[in-house]
Symmetry: C2
Protein backbone atom coordinates (compact mmCIF):
# COMPACT_ATOMS: atom_id res chain seq x y z
CA UNK A 1 0.00 0.00 0.00
CA UNK A 2 1.32 3.48 -0.79
CA UNK A 3 2.60 5.88 1.82
CA UNK A 4 0.63 8.87 3.03
CA UNK A 5 2.06 11.33 0.49
CA UNK A 6 -0.83 10.19 -1.72
CA UNK A 7 -3.39 11.34 0.85
CA UNK A 8 -2.30 14.89 1.61
CA UNK A 9 -3.04 16.85 4.75
CA UNK A 10 -6.82 17.01 4.36
CA UNK A 11 -6.94 13.36 3.31
CA UNK A 12 -5.36 12.30 6.60
CA UNK A 13 -8.03 14.04 8.68
CA UNK A 14 -10.80 13.00 6.29
CA UNK A 15 -9.89 9.38 7.12
CA UNK A 16 -11.30 10.03 10.58
CA UNK A 17 -14.72 11.14 9.32
CA UNK A 18 -17.37 8.79 10.54
CA UNK A 19 -21.11 8.64 10.94
CA UNK A 20 -22.51 11.25 13.32
CA UNK A 21 -25.86 10.81 14.95
CA UNK A 22 -25.56 13.57 17.53
CA UNK A 23 -27.81 16.40 16.31
CA UNK A 24 -25.98 18.87 18.55
CA UNK A 25 -22.86 18.52 16.38
CA UNK A 26 -23.54 21.31 13.88
CA UNK A 27 -20.14 21.23 12.15
CA UNK A 28 -17.63 18.39 12.15
CA UNK A 29 -14.52 17.84 10.00
CA UNK A 30 -14.40 20.25 7.04
CA UNK A 31 -14.47 23.80 8.40
CA UNK A 32 -12.14 26.01 10.44
CA UNK A 33 -13.76 24.91 13.70
CA UNK A 34 -16.11 22.17 14.79
CA UNK A 35 -19.38 23.55 16.19
CA UNK A 36 -21.56 22.09 18.92
CA UNK A 37 -24.90 23.41 20.09
CA UNK A 38 -24.72 24.04 23.83
CA UNK A 39 -27.96 25.95 24.33
CA UNK A 40 -30.86 27.21 22.24
CA UNK A 41 -28.94 30.21 21.07
CA UNK A 42 -25.25 29.44 21.51
CA UNK A 43 -22.76 27.37 19.54
CA UNK A 44 -19.46 26.20 20.95
CA UNK A 45 -16.61 26.51 18.43
CA UNK A 46 -13.66 24.18 18.83
CA UNK A 47 -10.35 24.10 16.98
CA UNK A 48 -6.85 22.70 17.32
CA UNK A 49 -3.52 23.31 15.58
CA UNK A 50 0.02 22.07 15.90
CA UNK A 51 3.34 23.84 15.56
CA UNK A 52 6.14 21.31 15.06
CA UNK A 53 9.80 22.27 15.07
CA UNK A 54 11.41 21.55 11.70
CA UNK A 55 7.99 21.62 10.03
CA UNK A 56 6.26 24.84 11.09
CA UNK A 57 9.16 26.65 12.67
CA UNK A 58 12.88 26.68 13.33
CA UNK A 59 13.96 27.67 16.82
CA UNK A 60 16.52 30.22 15.56
CA UNK A 61 14.08 32.09 13.26
CA UNK A 62 12.33 34.06 15.96
CA UNK A 63 12.22 34.55 19.71
CA UNK A 64 10.52 32.10 22.07
CA UNK A 65 8.15 34.96 22.94
CA UNK A 66 7.04 35.27 19.29
CA UNK A 67 6.57 31.51 19.05
CA UNK A 68 4.40 31.60 22.19
CA UNK A 69 2.23 34.32 20.64
CA UNK A 70 1.96 32.52 17.31
CA UNK A 71 1.05 29.13 18.88
CA UNK A 72 -2.12 30.64 20.24
CA UNK A 73 -2.77 33.18 17.43
CA UNK A 74 -3.01 30.55 14.69
CA UNK A 75 -5.72 28.79 16.70
CA UNK A 76 -7.53 32.05 17.46
CA UNK A 77 -7.48 32.71 13.71
CA UNK A 78 -9.77 29.69 13.23
CA UNK A 79 -12.19 31.11 15.80
CA UNK A 80 -12.04 34.42 13.90
CA UNK A 81 -12.80 32.66 10.61
CA UNK A 82 -16.07 31.35 12.09
CA UNK A 83 -16.96 34.72 13.63
CA UNK A 84 -16.65 33.55 17.24
CA UNK A 85 -15.31 34.86 20.52
CA UNK A 86 -12.55 32.93 22.33
CA UNK A 87 -13.54 31.24 25.58
CA UNK A 88 -10.42 29.37 26.80
CA UNK A 89 -7.49 27.24 25.63
CA UNK A 90 -5.39 24.19 26.54
CA UNK A 91 -1.72 23.77 25.62
CA UNK A 92 0.28 20.58 25.02
CA UNK A 93 4.05 20.83 24.98
CA UNK A 94 6.48 18.09 24.08
CA UNK A 95 9.96 19.46 24.73
CA UNK A 96 13.48 18.07 25.05
CA UNK A 97 14.75 17.83 28.65
CA UNK A 98 17.75 20.05 27.91
CA UNK A 99 15.59 23.03 26.95
CA UNK A 100 16.40 26.01 29.15
CA UNK A 101 13.93 27.42 31.64
CA UNK A 102 14.72 30.79 30.08
CA UNK A 103 13.39 29.61 26.73
CA UNK A 104 10.27 28.12 28.26
CA UNK A 105 9.66 31.15 30.39
CA UNK A 106 9.84 33.52 27.39
CA UNK A 107 7.60 31.22 25.36
CA UNK A 108 5.11 31.22 28.22
CA UNK A 109 5.19 35.03 28.42
CA UNK A 110 4.25 35.30 24.74
CA UNK A 111 1.52 32.71 25.05
CA UNK A 112 0.03 34.30 28.18
CA UNK A 113 0.22 37.82 26.75
CA UNK A 114 -1.74 36.66 23.69
CA UNK A 115 -4.24 34.78 25.88
CA UNK A 116 -4.83 37.93 27.91
CA UNK A 117 -5.01 40.21 24.87
CA UNK A 118 -7.78 38.09 23.36
CA UNK A 119 -9.42 37.04 26.62
CA UNK A 120 -8.67 33.36 26.13
CA UNK A 121 -7.28 32.01 29.44
CA UNK A 122 -5.10 28.88 29.60
CA UNK A 123 -7.09 26.40 31.69
CA UNK A 124 -5.15 23.18 31.22
CA UNK A 125 -2.72 21.16 29.18
CA UNK A 126 -0.16 18.42 29.19
CA UNK A 127 3.62 18.41 29.04
CA UNK A 128 6.09 15.67 28.27
CA UNK A 129 9.62 15.08 27.06
CA UNK A 130 10.71 14.59 23.47
CA UNK A 131 13.78 13.09 21.82
CA UNK A 132 14.91 16.34 20.22
CA UNK A 133 12.24 18.59 18.79
CA UNK A 134 9.61 20.90 20.27
CA UNK A 135 5.98 20.04 19.45
CA UNK A 136 3.25 22.44 20.44
CA UNK A 137 -0.41 21.52 20.18
CA UNK A 138 -3.04 24.02 21.22
CA UNK A 139 -6.80 23.72 21.36
CA UNK A 140 -9.20 26.64 21.70
CA UNK A 141 -12.88 26.84 22.54
CA UNK A 142 -14.93 29.79 21.43
CA UNK A 143 -18.56 30.75 21.27
CA UNK A 144 -20.90 32.33 18.77
CA UNK A 145 -24.63 33.04 18.66
CA UNK A 146 -26.49 30.29 16.81
CA UNK A 147 -27.25 31.32 13.22
CA UNK A 148 -24.45 33.89 13.29
CA UNK A 149 -21.40 31.86 12.42
CA UNK A 150 -19.31 32.13 9.28
CA UNK A 151 -18.82 28.96 7.30
CA UNK A 152 -17.01 27.90 4.16
CA UNK A 153 -20.02 26.66 2.28
CA UNK A 154 -22.23 29.74 1.97
CA UNK A 155 -20.75 31.55 -1.06
CA UNK A 156 -23.29 32.49 -3.77
CA UNK A 157 -22.90 33.05 -7.49
CA UNK A 158 -21.90 36.66 -8.13
CA UNK A 159 -20.58 37.31 -4.61
CA UNK A 160 -17.56 39.55 -4.25
CA UNK A 161 -14.36 37.98 -2.87
CA UNK A 162 -12.65 40.02 -0.14
CA UNK A 163 -9.34 39.68 1.63
CA UNK A 164 -8.34 41.43 4.86
CA UNK A 165 -4.60 41.79 4.20
CA UNK A 166 -2.02 41.77 1.42
CA UNK A 167 -1.44 38.09 0.67
CA UNK A 168 1.99 36.43 0.53
CA UNK A 169 3.71 38.69 3.05
CA UNK A 170 4.22 35.90 5.60
CA UNK A 171 5.69 33.61 2.93
CA UNK A 172 8.04 36.41 1.90
CA UNK A 173 9.12 36.72 5.55
CA UNK A 174 9.73 32.97 5.75
CA UNK A 175 11.82 33.14 2.57
CA UNK A 176 13.95 35.93 4.00
CA UNK A 177 14.49 33.97 7.24
CA UNK A 178 15.25 30.73 5.39
CA UNK A 179 17.72 32.28 2.92
CA UNK A 180 19.14 34.65 5.52
CA UNK A 181 18.63 37.55 3.11
CA UNK A 182 19.13 41.12 4.20
CA UNK A 183 16.72 41.75 7.09
CA UNK A 184 17.27 45.45 7.57
CA UNK A 185 14.93 46.94 4.94
CA UNK A 186 11.46 48.08 5.96
CA UNK A 187 9.86 45.51 3.61
CA UNK A 188 11.96 42.68 5.05
CA UNK A 189 11.26 43.63 8.64
CA UNK A 190 7.52 43.87 8.19
CA UNK A 191 7.37 40.58 6.26
CA UNK A 192 9.35 38.79 9.00
CA UNK A 193 7.10 40.30 11.66
CA UNK A 194 4.04 39.11 9.75
CA UNK A 195 5.50 35.61 9.58
CA UNK A 196 6.61 35.33 13.19
CA UNK A 197 3.77 37.22 14.82
CA UNK A 198 0.51 36.90 12.88
CA UNK A 199 -2.54 38.62 14.36
CA UNK A 200 -5.88 36.79 14.48
CA UNK A 201 -8.68 38.86 12.87
CA UNK A 202 -11.13 38.32 15.73
CA UNK A 203 -12.78 41.74 15.60
CA UNK A 204 -13.34 41.55 11.85
CA UNK A 205 -14.70 37.98 12.10
CA UNK A 206 -17.18 39.02 14.77
CA UNK A 207 -18.31 42.05 12.77
CA UNK A 208 -18.83 40.00 9.61
CA UNK A 209 -20.77 37.35 11.55
CA UNK A 210 -22.87 39.56 13.79
CA UNK A 211 -23.88 41.92 10.97
CA UNK A 212 -24.29 39.02 8.53
CA UNK A 213 -22.03 40.80 6.05
CA UNK A 214 -20.30 37.69 4.66
CA UNK A 215 -21.75 34.60 3.01
CA UNK A 216 -18.63 32.41 3.49
CA UNK A 217 -15.31 32.85 5.27
CA UNK A 218 -11.98 31.08 5.91
CA UNK A 219 -8.65 32.16 7.34
CA UNK A 220 -5.74 32.08 4.91
CA UNK A 221 -3.33 29.56 6.33
CA UNK A 222 -2.48 27.46 3.27
CA UNK A 223 -2.35 30.20 0.65
CA UNK A 224 -4.94 32.25 -1.28
CA UNK A 225 -5.53 29.72 -4.06
CA UNK A 226 -5.85 26.73 -1.74
CA UNK A 227 -8.03 28.56 0.77
CA UNK A 228 -10.31 30.10 -1.87
CA UNK A 229 -10.45 26.59 -3.32
CA UNK A 230 -11.85 25.38 0.03
CA UNK A 231 -14.64 27.97 -0.11
CA UNK A 232 -15.38 27.14 -3.76
CA UNK A 233 -15.38 23.41 -3.13
CA UNK A 234 -17.62 23.68 -0.04
CA UNK A 235 -19.95 26.08 -1.88
CA UNK A 236 -19.77 24.09 -5.17
CA UNK A 237 -18.94 27.14 -7.24
CA UNK A 238 -16.03 28.54 -9.23
CA UNK A 239 -14.28 31.90 -8.81
CA UNK A 240 -12.43 34.54 -10.80
CA UNK A 241 -9.55 36.47 -9.23
CA UNK A 242 -8.65 39.76 -10.93
CA UNK A 243 -4.88 40.33 -11.11
CA UNK A 244 -5.33 44.10 -11.17
CA UNK A 245 -7.17 43.95 -7.84
CA UNK A 246 -4.98 41.50 -5.91
CA UNK A 247 -2.64 43.57 -3.70
CA UNK A 248 0.97 42.39 -3.87
CA UNK A 249 3.69 42.19 -1.24
CA UNK A 250 6.58 44.66 -1.55
CA UNK A 251 9.72 42.70 -2.36
CA UNK A 252 13.02 43.91 -0.83
CA UNK A 253 15.53 45.15 -3.44
CA UNK A 254 17.97 42.25 -2.87
CA UNK A 255 15.39 39.55 -3.59
CA UNK A 256 13.88 38.23 -6.81
CA UNK A 257 10.59 36.75 -5.56
CA UNK A 258 7.64 36.88 -7.92
CA UNK A 259 5.13 38.95 -5.93
CA UNK A 260 2.09 37.48 -7.74
CA UNK A 261 3.27 33.95 -7.05
CA UNK A 262 3.73 34.79 -3.36
CA UNK A 263 0.29 36.41 -3.22
CA UNK A 264 -1.45 33.44 -4.81
CA UNK A 265 0.39 30.61 -3.14
CA UNK A 266 2.17 31.84 0.00
CA UNK A 267 0.73 30.47 3.25
CA UNK A 268 0.40 31.51 6.88
CA UNK A 269 -1.04 34.99 6.40
CA UNK A 270 -3.92 34.30 8.82
CA UNK A 271 -6.00 37.04 7.26
CA UNK A 272 -9.69 36.51 6.51
CA UNK A 273 -10.82 35.58 3.01
CA UNK A 274 -14.57 35.94 2.60
CA UNK A 275 -17.39 36.32 0.13
CA UNK A 276 -20.22 38.84 0.28
CA UNK A 277 -22.99 40.08 -2.01
CA UNK A 278 -22.19 43.24 -3.97
CA UNK A 279 -24.91 45.03 -1.99
CA UNK A 280 -22.62 44.93 1.06
CA UNK A 281 -19.74 46.72 -0.68
CA UNK A 282 -20.41 50.10 0.82
CA UNK A 283 -20.60 48.79 4.35
CA UNK A 284 -17.52 46.62 3.91
CA UNK A 285 -15.47 49.51 2.52
CA UNK A 286 -16.35 51.49 5.64
CA UNK A 287 -14.60 48.84 7.75
CA UNK A 288 -11.31 49.76 6.07
CA UNK A 289 -8.28 47.63 5.18
CA UNK A 290 -10.23 45.22 2.98
CA UNK A 291 -9.34 44.27 -0.61
CA UNK A 292 -11.99 43.29 -3.16
CA UNK A 293 -10.05 40.79 -5.29
CA UNK A 294 -12.54 38.88 -7.41
CA UNK A 295 -15.92 37.31 -7.82
CA UNK A 296 -17.62 33.98 -7.26
CA UNK A 297 -18.74 32.69 -10.67
CA UNK A 298 -20.94 29.70 -11.25
CA UNK A 299 -19.99 29.60 -14.93
CA UNK A 300 -16.30 28.80 -14.35
CA UNK A 301 -14.74 25.52 -13.33
CA UNK A 302 -12.41 25.87 -10.35
CA UNK A 303 -10.33 29.05 -10.00
CA UNK A 304 -9.47 31.47 -12.80
CA UNK A 305 -7.05 34.40 -12.75
CA UNK A 306 -7.97 37.28 -15.05
CA UNK A 307 -4.58 38.74 -16.04
CA UNK A 308 -3.80 42.33 -16.93
CA UNK A 309 -4.99 42.59 -20.52
CA UNK A 310 -7.89 40.20 -19.98
CA UNK A 311 -6.34 36.78 -20.59
CA UNK A 312 -7.74 34.09 -18.29
CA UNK A 313 -5.60 31.39 -16.65
CA UNK A 314 -6.59 28.47 -14.50
CA UNK A 315 -5.10 28.45 -11.00
CA UNK A 316 -4.01 25.28 -9.26
CA UNK A 317 -2.94 24.68 -5.66
CA UNK A 318 0.79 25.19 -5.18
CA UNK A 319 0.96 25.80 -1.45
CA UNK A 320 3.07 23.91 1.03
CA UNK A 321 2.37 20.19 1.26
CA UNK A 322 3.10 18.37 4.51
CA UNK A 323 3.46 14.94 2.94
CA UNK B 1 19.37 29.54 34.11
CA UNK B 2 18.81 25.83 34.69
CA UNK B 3 17.11 23.54 32.19
CA UNK B 4 13.57 22.29 32.60
CA UNK B 5 14.51 19.08 34.45
CA UNK B 6 14.24 21.23 37.58
CA UNK B 7 10.60 21.99 36.86
CA UNK B 8 9.11 18.57 36.23
CA UNK B 9 6.00 17.81 34.22
CA UNK B 10 3.52 19.58 36.48
CA UNK B 11 5.87 22.54 36.87
CA UNK B 12 5.87 23.11 33.12
CA UNK B 13 2.08 23.39 32.93
CA UNK B 14 1.92 25.36 36.19
CA UNK B 15 4.03 28.02 34.46
CA UNK B 16 0.98 28.78 32.32
CA UNK B 17 -1.32 29.45 35.27
CA UNK B 18 -2.53 33.00 35.19
CA UNK B 19 -5.21 35.15 36.67
CA UNK B 20 -8.74 34.08 35.77
CA UNK B 21 -11.64 36.47 35.97
CA UNK B 22 -14.19 34.43 34.07
CA UNK B 23 -16.59 33.02 36.67
CA UNK B 24 -17.77 30.36 34.23
CA UNK B 25 -14.34 28.66 34.46
CA UNK B 26 -15.03 26.30 37.37
CA UNK B 27 -11.78 24.30 37.15
CA UNK B 28 -8.57 25.37 35.45
CA UNK B 29 -5.06 23.84 35.64
CA UNK B 30 -4.77 21.30 38.47
CA UNK B 31 -7.37 18.58 37.91
CA UNK B 32 -7.94 15.81 35.35
CA UNK B 33 -10.09 18.11 33.23
CA UNK B 34 -10.82 21.80 33.03
CA UNK B 35 -14.50 22.59 33.69
CA UNK B 36 -16.59 25.39 32.22
CA UNK B 37 -20.19 26.23 33.09
CA UNK B 38 -22.26 26.18 29.91
CA UNK B 39 -25.74 26.37 31.40
CA UNK B 40 -27.36 26.52 34.82
CA UNK B 41 -27.03 22.83 35.33
CA UNK B 42 -24.30 21.58 33.00
CA UNK B 43 -20.53 21.69 33.10
CA UNK B 44 -18.35 21.17 30.07
CA UNK B 45 -15.27 19.02 30.85
CA UNK B 46 -12.21 19.47 28.67
CA UNK B 47 -8.97 17.51 28.57
CA UNK B 48 -6.00 16.87 26.32
CA UNK B 49 -3.16 14.34 26.26
CA UNK B 50 -0.24 13.57 24.03
CA UNK B 51 1.30 10.29 22.92
CA UNK B 52 4.79 10.85 21.55
CA UNK B 53 6.82 8.12 19.86
CA UNK B 54 9.97 7.34 21.83
CA UNK B 55 8.42 8.83 24.97
CA UNK B 56 4.99 7.21 25.43
CA UNK B 57 5.25 4.41 22.90
CA UNK B 58 7.48 2.54 20.49
CA UNK B 59 5.96 1.68 17.14
CA UNK B 60 6.99 -1.97 17.32
CA UNK B 61 5.48 -2.63 20.80
CA UNK B 62 1.89 -2.95 19.67
CA UNK B 63 -0.30 -2.70 16.61
CA UNK B 64 -1.38 0.62 15.05
CA UNK B 65 -4.93 -0.39 15.94
CA UNK B 66 -4.04 -0.63 19.65
CA UNK B 67 -2.27 2.73 19.50
CA UNK B 68 -5.37 4.27 17.93
CA UNK B 69 -7.52 2.91 20.76
CA UNK B 70 -5.09 4.03 23.46
CA UNK B 71 -4.72 7.57 22.05
CA UNK B 72 -8.38 8.20 22.71
CA UNK B 73 -8.76 6.00 25.82
CA UNK B 74 -6.18 7.89 27.88
CA UNK B 75 -8.12 11.10 27.24
CA UNK B 76 -11.46 9.45 28.01
CA UNK B 77 -9.90 8.29 31.27
CA UNK B 78 -9.64 11.94 32.35
CA UNK B 79 -13.34 12.45 31.60
CA UNK B 80 -14.03 9.29 33.66
CA UNK B 81 -11.98 10.65 36.57
CA UNK B 82 -14.27 13.69 36.73
CA UNK B 83 -17.44 11.59 36.39
CA UNK B 84 -18.40 12.95 32.98
CA UNK B 85 -19.81 11.67 29.72
CA UNK B 86 -17.81 12.12 26.50
CA UNK B 87 -19.23 14.56 23.95
CA UNK B 88 -16.71 14.68 21.07
CA UNK B 89 -12.98 14.73 20.27
CA UNK B 90 -10.39 16.29 17.98
CA UNK B 91 -7.17 14.58 16.86
CA UNK B 92 -3.83 16.10 15.87
CA UNK B 93 -1.36 13.89 14.07
CA UNK B 94 2.22 14.77 13.19
CA UNK B 95 3.57 11.90 11.10
CA UNK B 96 6.56 11.26 8.86
CA UNK B 97 5.76 11.35 5.13
CA UNK B 98 7.03 7.79 4.61
CA UNK B 99 4.46 6.28 6.97
CA UNK B 100 2.34 3.72 5.15
CA UNK B 101 -1.34 4.24 4.47
CA UNK B 102 -1.80 0.75 5.93
CA UNK B 103 -0.41 1.91 9.28
CA UNK B 104 -2.55 5.04 9.29
CA UNK B 105 -5.64 3.16 8.25
CA UNK B 106 -5.25 0.62 11.10
CA UNK B 107 -4.57 3.41 13.58
CA UNK B 108 -7.71 5.18 12.38
CA UNK B 109 -9.75 1.97 12.77
CA UNK B 110 -8.69 1.67 16.42
CA UNK B 111 -9.38 5.32 17.11
CA UNK B 112 -12.81 5.27 15.43
CA UNK B 113 -13.80 2.00 17.10
CA UNK B 114 -13.02 3.52 20.50
CA UNK B 115 -14.83 6.74 19.62
CA UNK B 116 -17.92 4.74 18.66
CA UNK B 117 -17.72 2.46 21.70
CA UNK B 118 -17.75 5.45 24.04
CA UNK B 119 -19.97 7.70 21.92
CA UNK B 120 -17.26 10.30 21.39
CA UNK B 121 -17.26 11.22 17.67
CA UNK B 122 -14.19 12.71 15.94
CA UNK B 123 -15.30 16.15 14.76
CA UNK B 124 -12.02 17.74 13.72
CA UNK B 125 -8.28 17.83 13.93
CA UNK B 126 -5.08 18.78 12.22
CA UNK B 127 -2.39 16.78 10.45
CA UNK B 128 1.13 17.64 9.44
CA UNK B 129 4.47 16.08 8.64
CA UNK B 130 7.28 15.35 11.06
CA UNK B 131 11.00 14.75 10.72
CA UNK B 132 10.87 11.19 12.01
CA UNK B 133 8.56 10.48 14.91
CA UNK B 134 4.81 10.17 15.32
CA UNK B 135 3.17 12.68 17.69
CA UNK B 136 -0.47 12.26 18.60
CA UNK B 137 -2.37 14.91 20.50
CA UNK B 138 -6.02 14.38 21.31
CA UNK B 139 -8.52 16.64 23.02
CA UNK B 140 -11.88 15.51 24.38
CA UNK B 141 -14.93 17.42 25.53
CA UNK B 142 -17.34 15.86 27.99
CA UNK B 143 -20.27 16.95 30.08
CA UNK B 144 -21.46 16.45 33.61
CA UNK B 145 -24.34 17.82 35.66
CA UNK B 146 -23.25 20.81 37.75
CA UNK B 147 -22.52 19.78 41.34
CA UNK B 148 -21.99 16.16 40.29
CA UNK B 149 -18.38 16.14 39.18
CA UNK B 150 -15.51 14.32 40.87
CA UNK B 151 -12.52 16.40 41.81
CA UNK B 152 -9.14 15.83 43.41
CA UNK B 153 -9.62 18.16 46.32
CA UNK B 154 -12.61 16.70 48.15
CA UNK B 155 -11.02 13.95 50.31
CA UNK B 156 -11.93 14.07 54.02
CA UNK B 157 -10.08 12.82 57.10
CA UNK B 158 -10.97 9.17 57.69
CA UNK B 159 -12.16 8.50 54.13
CA UNK B 160 -11.44 5.08 52.65
CA UNK B 161 -9.11 4.92 49.65
CA UNK B 162 -10.37 2.75 46.78
CA UNK B 163 -8.79 1.57 43.58
CA UNK B 164 -10.64 0.09 40.59
CA UNK B 165 -7.93 -2.31 39.36
CA UNK B 166 -4.76 -4.09 40.44
CA UNK B 167 -2.05 -1.42 40.20
CA UNK B 168 1.26 -1.88 38.37
CA UNK B 169 -0.02 -4.27 35.70
CA UNK B 170 0.52 -1.82 32.84
CA UNK B 171 4.08 -1.09 34.02
CA UNK B 172 4.74 -4.82 34.17
CA UNK B 173 3.50 -5.09 30.57
CA UNK B 174 5.78 -2.24 29.52
CA UNK B 175 8.73 -3.98 31.22
CA UNK B 176 8.01 -7.20 29.36
CA UNK B 177 7.79 -5.35 26.02
CA UNK B 178 10.94 -3.34 26.71
CA UNK B 179 13.06 -6.30 27.83
CA UNK B 180 11.48 -8.64 25.27
CA UNK B 181 10.82 -11.15 28.03
CA UNK B 182 8.73 -14.25 27.39
CA UNK B 183 5.30 -13.04 26.25
CA UNK B 184 3.48 -16.36 26.14
CA UNK B 185 2.41 -16.79 29.78
CA UNK B 186 -1.09 -15.77 30.82
CA UNK B 187 0.35 -13.13 33.22
CA UNK B 188 2.56 -11.64 30.51
CA UNK B 189 -0.20 -11.52 27.94
CA UNK B 190 -2.69 -9.82 30.23
CA UNK B 191 -0.09 -7.29 31.43
CA UNK B 192 0.84 -6.40 27.84
CA UNK B 193 -2.83 -6.06 26.92
CA UNK B 194 -3.36 -3.77 29.90
CA UNK B 195 -0.42 -1.62 28.77
CA UNK B 196 -1.31 -1.42 25.09
CA UNK B 197 -5.08 -1.25 25.41
CA UNK B 198 -6.18 0.45 28.65
CA UNK B 199 -9.92 0.85 29.17
CA UNK B 200 -11.32 4.14 30.46
CA UNK B 201 -13.54 3.65 33.53
CA UNK B 202 -16.37 5.84 32.26
CA UNK B 203 -19.25 3.83 33.72
CA UNK B 204 -17.64 3.70 37.17
CA UNK B 205 -16.83 7.42 37.09
CA UNK B 206 -20.41 8.29 36.20
CA UNK B 207 -21.79 6.04 38.94
CA UNK B 208 -19.48 7.53 41.57
CA UNK B 209 -20.40 11.06 40.49
CA UNK B 210 -24.13 10.66 39.95
CA UNK B 211 -24.67 8.80 43.24
CA UNK B 212 -22.22 11.07 45.07
CA UNK B 213 -20.33 8.00 46.32
CA UNK B 214 -16.81 9.47 46.17
CA UNK B 215 -15.35 12.56 47.81
CA UNK B 216 -12.30 12.81 45.50
CA UNK B 217 -11.13 10.97 42.38
CA UNK B 218 -8.24 10.79 39.91
CA UNK B 219 -7.23 8.37 37.19
CA UNK B 220 -3.96 6.52 37.80
CA UNK B 221 -1.69 7.58 34.99
CA UNK B 222 1.53 8.41 36.85
CA UNK B 223 1.50 5.64 39.47
CA UNK B 224 -0.41 5.00 42.71
CA UNK B 225 1.91 6.99 44.98
CA UNK B 226 2.10 10.03 42.69
CA UNK B 227 -1.62 10.04 41.92
CA UNK B 228 -2.66 9.53 45.55
CA UNK B 229 -0.20 12.31 46.32
CA UNK B 230 -2.19 14.58 43.96
CA UNK B 231 -5.41 13.87 45.88
CA UNK B 232 -3.65 14.39 49.24
CA UNK B 233 -2.01 17.62 48.12
CA UNK B 234 -5.23 19.03 46.64
CA UNK B 235 -7.18 17.98 49.75
CA UNK B 236 -4.38 19.04 52.15
CA UNK B 237 -4.38 15.71 53.99
CA UNK B 238 -2.11 12.69 54.44
CA UNK B 239 -2.88 9.03 53.72
CA UNK B 240 -2.00 5.55 54.91
CA UNK B 241 -1.84 2.66 52.44
CA UNK B 242 -2.09 -0.82 53.95
CA UNK B 243 0.30 -3.30 52.31
CA UNK B 244 -1.97 -6.23 53.18
CA UNK B 245 -4.82 -4.63 51.23
CA UNK B 246 -3.00 -3.43 48.12
CA UNK B 247 -3.59 -6.04 45.38
CA UNK B 248 -0.39 -6.99 43.55
CA UNK B 249 0.27 -7.85 39.91
CA UNK B 250 1.11 -11.49 39.12
CA UNK B 251 4.71 -11.63 37.95
CA UNK B 252 5.58 -14.12 35.16
CA UNK B 253 7.97 -16.88 36.34
CA UNK B 254 10.89 -15.66 34.18
CA UNK B 255 10.88 -12.17 35.65
CA UNK B 256 12.14 -10.76 38.95
CA UNK B 257 10.03 -7.59 39.29
CA UNK B 258 9.12 -6.53 42.82
CA UNK B 259 5.31 -6.63 42.68
CA UNK B 260 4.90 -4.09 45.52
CA UNK B 261 7.22 -1.63 43.79
CA UNK B 262 5.26 -2.00 40.56
CA UNK B 263 1.96 -1.54 42.42
CA UNK B 264 3.13 1.62 44.16
CA UNK B 265 5.06 3.28 41.37
CA UNK B 266 4.05 1.78 38.02
CA UNK B 267 2.15 4.19 35.76
CA UNK B 268 -0.42 4.07 32.96
CA UNK B 269 -3.01 1.86 34.63
CA UNK B 270 -5.83 4.33 33.90
CA UNK B 271 -7.93 2.90 36.71
CA UNK B 272 -9.82 5.17 39.09
CA UNK B 273 -8.35 5.98 42.50
CA UNK B 274 -10.91 7.59 44.77
CA UNK B 275 -11.83 8.37 48.34
CA UNK B 276 -15.17 7.77 50.03
CA UNK B 277 -16.59 7.85 53.55
CA UNK B 278 -16.71 4.47 55.31
CA UNK B 279 -20.53 4.71 55.27
CA UNK B 280 -20.42 4.08 51.50
CA UNK B 281 -18.50 0.79 51.82
CA UNK B 282 -21.50 -1.46 51.42
CA UNK B 283 -22.72 0.28 48.30
CA UNK B 284 -19.22 0.42 46.79
CA UNK B 285 -18.64 -3.29 47.41
CA UNK B 286 -21.84 -4.01 45.50
CA UNK B 287 -20.31 -2.38 42.40
CA UNK B 288 -17.70 -5.14 42.34
CA UNK B 289 -14.04 -5.09 41.27
CA UNK B 290 -13.00 -2.38 43.73
CA UNK B 291 -10.10 -2.61 46.20
CA UNK B 292 -10.13 -0.81 49.55
CA UNK B 293 -6.42 -0.07 50.00
CA UNK B 294 -6.04 2.50 52.76
CA UNK B 295 -7.36 5.53 54.53
CA UNK B 296 -7.05 9.31 54.40
CA UNK B 297 -5.43 10.42 57.65
CA UNK B 298 -5.10 14.01 58.78
CA UNK B 299 -2.54 13.02 61.42
CA UNK B 300 0.14 11.85 58.97
CA UNK B 301 2.40 13.92 56.80
CA UNK B 302 2.35 12.84 53.16
CA UNK B 303 1.93 9.18 52.32
CA UNK B 304 2.64 6.25 54.66
CA UNK B 305 2.74 2.54 53.87
CA UNK B 306 1.74 0.25 56.74
CA UNK B 307 3.81 -2.88 56.11
CA UNK B 308 2.89 -6.44 57.03
CA UNK B 309 3.74 -6.59 60.74
CA UNK B 310 2.73 -2.98 61.36
CA UNK B 311 5.91 -1.05 60.58
CA UNK B 312 5.22 2.30 58.89
CA UNK B 313 7.27 3.68 56.01
CA UNK B 314 7.06 6.98 54.21
CA UNK B 315 6.35 6.76 50.48
CA UNK B 316 7.88 9.11 47.97
CA UNK B 317 7.14 9.60 44.27
CA UNK B 318 9.19 7.27 42.06
CA UNK B 319 7.12 7.24 38.90
CA UNK B 320 8.32 8.10 35.45
CA UNK B 321 9.68 11.59 35.01
CA UNK B 322 9.52 13.25 31.60
CA UNK B 323 12.36 15.70 32.24
Amino acid sequence: MPDIRKLGEQGVIDLFKSHLDNKRIVKAIGDDCAAIEISDNTLLLWTTDMLIEGVHFERHFGTPFQLGCKSLSVNLSDIAAMGGEPLACLINLSIPADLSQQWLSEFRDGFIQTSQKYDCPVIGGDSCGSRKTISISVTVLGEAPEGRILQRDGAKDGDDIWLSAIPGVSALGLGILTNQSDMTSEEARSAIEKHLNPQPCLALGRTLASKKLATACIDTSDGLVIDLGHICEASRLGAVLVERDVPLPSIPADRSDDPLHLALHGGEDYSLLFTAPATNRKELRKLGGLYLIGRIDDSVEGLILKRHGGKKESLFPQGFSHF
